[in-house]
Each structure stands twice: as C-alpha cells, then as structure tokens.
Amino acid sequence: MHGFGKVEPEQDEPVFHEDWEARTQALYRAMSYAGVWCIDAARFAREQLPPAVYLSSSYYKKWELGMEKQLAELGLAGPDELAAGHALRPGKPLKRKLSAPGAPNVITRGSFARPAQKPAKFKPGDRVRTKNIHPKTHTRLPRYARDKVGLVEALRGWFDGRELWGESAEPSLKVSIEAFEPYLEPA
C-alpha cells in the first residue's frame, strides 16, 4: 500500500513520547511475562483491527487496542471493566507475575526459535517461487513478495527489485526476506 508520504525523521527522539505509550509497552511486557500471549498472537490481534482503525492509529494505540481485544477474548478483563476503570470481577490465576527486580530481563527479546522437524527442502542457490497465499490468519510473508521468484541465499533469500516492482524499480535493488518453508515452491 502506498501514498503515505515522506518519512519524517525526528531529531533527538525520546524513547517514549508520552507516558501512556511507556505504560502500554510495559503492560504488554508484563502480561507477556505472565504467559498470557505470545508474540504472534499479539501481532495477529493488532492485524485484526479494522483497516481504517489500523491505518489511522498510532503504533502504541494499536498495541493498546490489540491488548484490549486479547484480554476480552481470553476472559481476563472485559470491556465493561475497562469502561468502569476498575475490576468488576476477581482475576484469574496466571502462570507468574513480573516483579520490579525481574523487570530488566523482560526488555530483551525472547527466543521463538523452534528446532527443524525435517531436513530443509531448499538449499542456497535454489530458485523458488513464493506461494500466492492470502490467509485470514497471521502470516509473515509480505504481500509484495507473494507469487514472486527469488533465490535462496542461506536461511533467507532475495528478490530482484524488478521481479517485485517491474521495470520502474531501482536497477540494482535486491530485497531480502525470510520465508518459512511452507511459503515456498520450486521455480
């Protein structure tokens, strides 16, 4: 999707612009620590926001709306409680609770790697075509890179700019993505 205008770098940008953004980030970390959601479920919740809401909401607003949606779906906190500004029902037991001394540990990224279940289907140098998939659920295959031929490089591969964007592309451009194997077929 295009037409969003120029990129606007900000001089001496603060880590957080508003207090509520910092609280949103921290609430998200604390609830992740409590085992309430994983990264892909959280991404999916944000991506399910109505397109007009997604595009017109700031980054942390999307996080906040995504959290509210997940909390309601998981039965952990209802919209009525958020509207009231207070808990109306007791909490459910969670796996664990983040304490202040443990907080610095949750700012590093968790590991989401899973061991490979079988040998890799493709090797470096293989030409592959990405599948033309449009799942209703979360996918890590960007739309611009669907049904495109690329070259496997290592764990990842690259596309020539012209394969993605046609003749108007920057001539020397290569774009790398990491595509999970089920997204690929031989080309």
Partner: protein
C-alpha cells in the same frame, strides 16, 4: 485515560505490579539503546578479527563483547561498502534489533517507511538527506521472521589511533539501520 484504566484493572485483578511496570520503563530508557550497537561497530572498525566474527556470526560476536548477555534469536550484521548499501526495514510491523539499538524510532514504525523502503529506497534516503552514488547497489533487508539485522556502516577515513570510545561517538543510530552514514571525524569534538 484509557491506558490508565487498563493498568488499574490489570493491577486490581492481580496480574501486574505497577512498580514492575516502572522498572520496565526505566530499563527501556536507560539500559538499551544505540550506544550498545555503537560499541559493536567501533570494535569492528578497530579489530579486523572481531569484524570477521561479527559478519560471520553476529549473535556470537556481540555476546562475546560482553555488553549484553542475551540475544533473542539470530542477529546478522551486514556491511556497507562503496559498492553496496544495506538498509533494514520491517514491512510487517516493527521488528528491530532491540538488543543493540533499543526501541525503534517512530519513523521506523511508520507507514511511509514500511511501505517505501522496499520499493523506493533512494527516495527514502533522500528524506534523510542521504544521497548514494548512482553505482552503489542497494540491498534492503525486510525482517520478516525472528532474525534481526544491524548494518555495519562504512568506516570513516582519518581515524587511525582513535580509541574505541571515541570511534563509537561517530556511530549514529541511523547509520546502523542504513538510513544514514557514520559521522566524519570533523563532526565530533
């Protein structure tokens, strides 16, 4: 405020502790940031064997440096040269090498950058006031899975004998994303 209500509800239900939230925010504001990546780059500029290890296995190299003790999954360092310019984006949302750069800036998470970096990188660089020679090839790395990327910017000239600390002062955050260059020695005191 909506987030305040959310925090109150989650606190009253016993899910979160406000003091822990304060500590998370303080850690984001003081512990992680581009100063970590700058140290990595400074070491790579001054130690050729570290640079080789970094380009070969950045996860290992950065952990060996001892500045941070954990990297989520993989970290890959890509080297800018006069012939090749690397740039990092996450078109899907905001994947970014937190361990070495901290939280991403607003523009990195914005629709203009996410949509145009893969399609019109020279136009995006122009928004940063950066112009590349016409014969420099561009490689854009879209962080679509759990690997994160950091750019090793080109080493400025005339920095022989500089300490690593002084070298780190030349390394900007944007130079490690690929939307800028490292500073020249004349730009720092």
């Amino acid at each position: 405020m909506r987030v305040r209500a959310l925090e109150t509800v989650l606190t009253e239900k016993g899910y979160v502790d406000p003091a822990a939230l304060d500590a998370v925010i303080e850690a984001f504001e003081t512990k992680v940031g581009p100063h970590i990546g700058a140290r990595v780059v400074a070491r790579a500029w001054s130690d050729p064997s570290f640079k080789r290890t970094l380009l070969d296995d950045a996860t290992k190299a950065v952990l060996a440096l001892g500045v941070i003790n954990r990297i989520g999954d993989h970290l890959i360092a890509v080297e800018n040269t006069p012939k090749l310019h690397n740039m990092i984006v996450c078109t899907l949302c905001s994947c970014y090498p937190w361990e070495v750069l901290g939280l991403p800036p607003v523009w990195y998470k914005s629709a203009p950058y996410r949509s145009r970096a893969v399609n019109d990188p020279r136009g995006v660089l122009a928004d940063f006031g950066v112009t590349l020679p016409a014969d420099t090839a561009i490689r854009v790395w879209d962080s679509t899975a759990e690997t994160r990327f950091i750019v090793l910017p080109m080493r400025p000239e005339d920095i022989e004998g500089w300490s690593e600390e002084k070298l780190a002062s030349l390394v900007t955050r944007d130079s490690m994303i690929g939307t800028g260059f490292a500073k020249q020695p004349g730009e720092v005191a």
